[in-house]
């Protein structure tokens, strides 16, 4: 899939463009803070979170083909790591230390989630298909039940079933946008590089991939760990947006919401996940007046999607090469990998 090769743009220009884009988000974000309606801004920020969650789950579910239903669990790990630390040290974090410390805490939240992902992934990724789905669902629920029980660790308040409140509000458009860009760039660079081919190979046929000398377990665990990392990052960000955490927020339904984004956008298509994340954050806001029917519509959307177009909006194509690879990937597009 020679996407970047065709354009033959030097890598450093792409890299600097990305850096400039992230840097430009800072002034844009402060302008948004000043002039934009709070509600609209909130939706925009949550779109960023949704993009991080959907793209990172896509790496696991779509690109590597390991159907996971536990993404909310990893998000919870990150959210609680970040929330607990930021709340505990909030009086020490002032002025210029704050952004630096926030990056540190966000990365730490991601790393904690990634480590849990490693611990969860090594045993469960031996399972396939539906069994893996149930096992990851189980781990997600275990994480939630455990968080429900922990009131505090040492002098750090965790909150237990009452939830954790008054976490400092830090996340804004800049953090959300910057992390979304980082997440998309890292994952796209990874899977569309030469080193990323095995991810697709594992999805297409695990046995054949193994026979070709690919260490399939290694790649599955890698996808799981990287996906968990970004889920943790999204967790930290969302904790500092609302300022409140409740173990119930990270239940099975939350995981399903992310799965719906991946499936709707097209399993294996990063741009598809981005589109679906934006769409599925925007739509519920428009459906506010149908609040009671919102989840019914979600469920119907999922079923109808599976019945008429199981490959999702974009299948496993990317937006930037829809036309070029249509014929080649049609065969692969007839359904999801098993």
């Amino acid at each position: 899939m020679p996407a970047l090769r065709r354009k033959s743009v030097p890598v450093w220009t792409v890299n600097s463009a990305i850096v400039i884009l992230i840097a430009a988000l800072w002034p844009i974000s402060s302008a948004f803070d000043k002039y934009m309606d709070n509600y609209v801004l909130d939706v925009l920020i949550r779109m960023g979170f949704a993009i991080i969650l959907a793209v990172s789950l896509n790496l696991i579910n779509g690109i590597t083909g390991q159907f996971s239903l536990g993404h909310a669990g990893f998000m919870a790990i990150g959210a609680y790591t970040g929330g607990v630390l930021l709340k505990h040290y909030q009086n020490d974090l002032v002025g210029m230390i704050l952004p630096v410390a926030f990056v540190g805490v966000t990365v730490l939240g991601g790393i904690t989630a990634a480590m849990v992902g490693l611990v969860v992934g090594i045993p469960t990724l031996r399972l396939r298909g539906d069994y893996l789905a149930i096992a990851t669902l189980g781990f997600g629920e275990i994480i939630r039940v455990v968080l429900n029980q922990i009131e505090s660790i040492g002098s750090f308040e965790v909150g237990g079933s009452a939830g954790l409140h008054d976490i400092p509000h830090i996340a804004n458009f800049f953090w959300s946008g910057a992390w979304a860009i980082v997440c998309v760039v890292v994952i796209a660079r990874l899977v569309y590089s030469a080193k990323g081919k095995p991810f697709f190979a594992v999805r297409e046929d695990e046995i054949a991939a193994g026979a070709m000398g690919i260490d399939t377990t290694n790649y599955k665990v890698a996808a799981f760990v990287i996906g968990a990392f970004f889920a943790g990052v999204a967790g930290v960000l969302s904790a500092t947006l609302s300022g409140n955490l409740d173990p119930g927020d990270f239940n099975f339904v939350k995981s399903i919401e992310i799965v719906v984004m991946v499936v709707l956008g097209g399993s294996g298509s990063i741009t598809g996940s981005i589109l679906a994340a934006i769409l599925l954050t925007y739509l519920p806001e428009q459906l506010r007046s149908f609040q009671d029917w919102r989840l019914v519509i979600y469920a119907l959307l999922l079923i109808v999607m599976m019945l008429v177009r199981p490959e999702g909006l974009l299948g496993n194509r990317e937006l930037w090469r829809v036309r070029r690879t249509r014929v080649a990937s049609d065969a692969a597009n007839r359904g999801l990998a098993v």
């Binding site: 189980g138 499936v263 019945l307 999801l336």
Partner: protein, 311 residues
């Protein structure tokens, strides 16, 4: 000793219900290799139908020997129809698609049922209390050893366990002794070949769903009578526990579902009985720990046959 025996009785009573639900999972998995995520919600629908009927029965003051059969028959009919509809509308068009597509659809159906029933126009999100049609009373009192307190077996324990055994016996007879049961076994062995042998596989699969849903309906009514409370999300945890039970016993195996269900019930009550009250919610997590352990140690379950990997 007394406490332990009492826990055992309670465990078997709850486990019998898990076994009934697990049978549905196991049968559907047997023929379609699909985890029917919506099965726990079919159980919920059974309980809701029981609630609606019980309300009317209570209003008319029907005697128990009329109201109970009507409750069970109504729930069985309703859930059977629902099971048929789910299979016909959602799973049948996906028969030849990859299994994950069907799995995602199953999750969708589950979400649809849960949220549909949470809607105010259908049922509402708040739990409702079942009128006390059946007063739970001790029917058997067993004095064990020197303990002053008897071990109590309630009428509901008897109903629950009795129904479970009766259903199991009926199902075993059906699967092993009837032509349709033979067809069912053939389909679960291999669908394509069964179809070549002149078996109407669609009919067999539909019937499997109807049967499984009927069993879930019975479980739903029993638990509605037990907890006397019905809510749209009540199927989630029992559904998952019953699924774990099916995997524990060996998914696809009917005696395995019974064994797994009873074991899950025992694990749950013993954990609840012997852990401090504060840790009660860990018993829900325990189900998943059990599941993950089995999947890792013996994925084919206690009574299942190990399957080979084919290319």
């Amino acid at each position: 000793m007394h406490d332990f025996l009492q826990q055992l009785i309670n465990g078997l009573s709850i486990g019998a219900v898990y076994a009934l639900i697990a049978l549905g999972y196991t049968m559907v998995y047997g023929v379609l290799r699909l985890i029917n995520f919506a099965h726990g919600d079919v159980y919920m629908v059974g309980a809701v139908i029981a609630y609606e009927l019980a309300k009317r029965m209570y209003a008319t003051q029907s005697p128990l020997w009329i109201s109970m059969p009507i409750l069970f028959a109504g729930a069985i009919a309703g859930c059977g129809a629902l099971g048929f509809a789910i299979e016909f509308l959602c799973y049948r068009p996906l028969r030849h698609r990859p299994r994950l597509v069907a799995l995602i659809t199953a999750i969708g159906v589950s979400l649809l049922l849960e949220n549909l029933f949470q809607n105010r126009l259908v049922f509402g999100a708040t739990p409702r209390n079942l009128p006390e049609l059946l007063t739970i009373t001790p029917t058997l009192k067993l004095w064990v050893g020197s303990s002053a307190e008897p071990v109590i077996v309630t009428n509901l324990d008897l109903i629950s366990f009795g129904l479970c055994i009766a259903m199991m016996a009926g199902l075993t007879w059906f699967v092993l002794r009837t032509r349709m049961g033979l067809a069912l076994r053939a389909v679960s062995f291999r669908v394509d070949t069964a179809s070549l042998m002149g078996i109407n596989t669609n009919r067999v699969i539909s019937m499997t769903f109807v049967l499984g849903s009927a069993l879930a309906a019975v479980a739903g009514v029993v638990n509605a009578l037990r907890y006397q409370q019905v809510d749209p999300l009540m199927g989630l945890i029992p559904g998952i526990k019953a699924f774990v039970a099916a995997v524990l016993g060996g998914i696809g195996s009917i005696p395995g579902a019974l064994l797994g269900g009873l074991l899950m019930g025992l694990v749950e009550t013993l954990l609840k009985g012997y852990l401090p009250a504060h840790y009660n919610s860990y018993s829900d997590a325990a189900a998943f720990v059990v599941l993950i352990l089995i999947l890792l140690v013996r994925p084919s379950g206690l009574l299942g046959k190990p399957s080979l990997e084919k290319v």
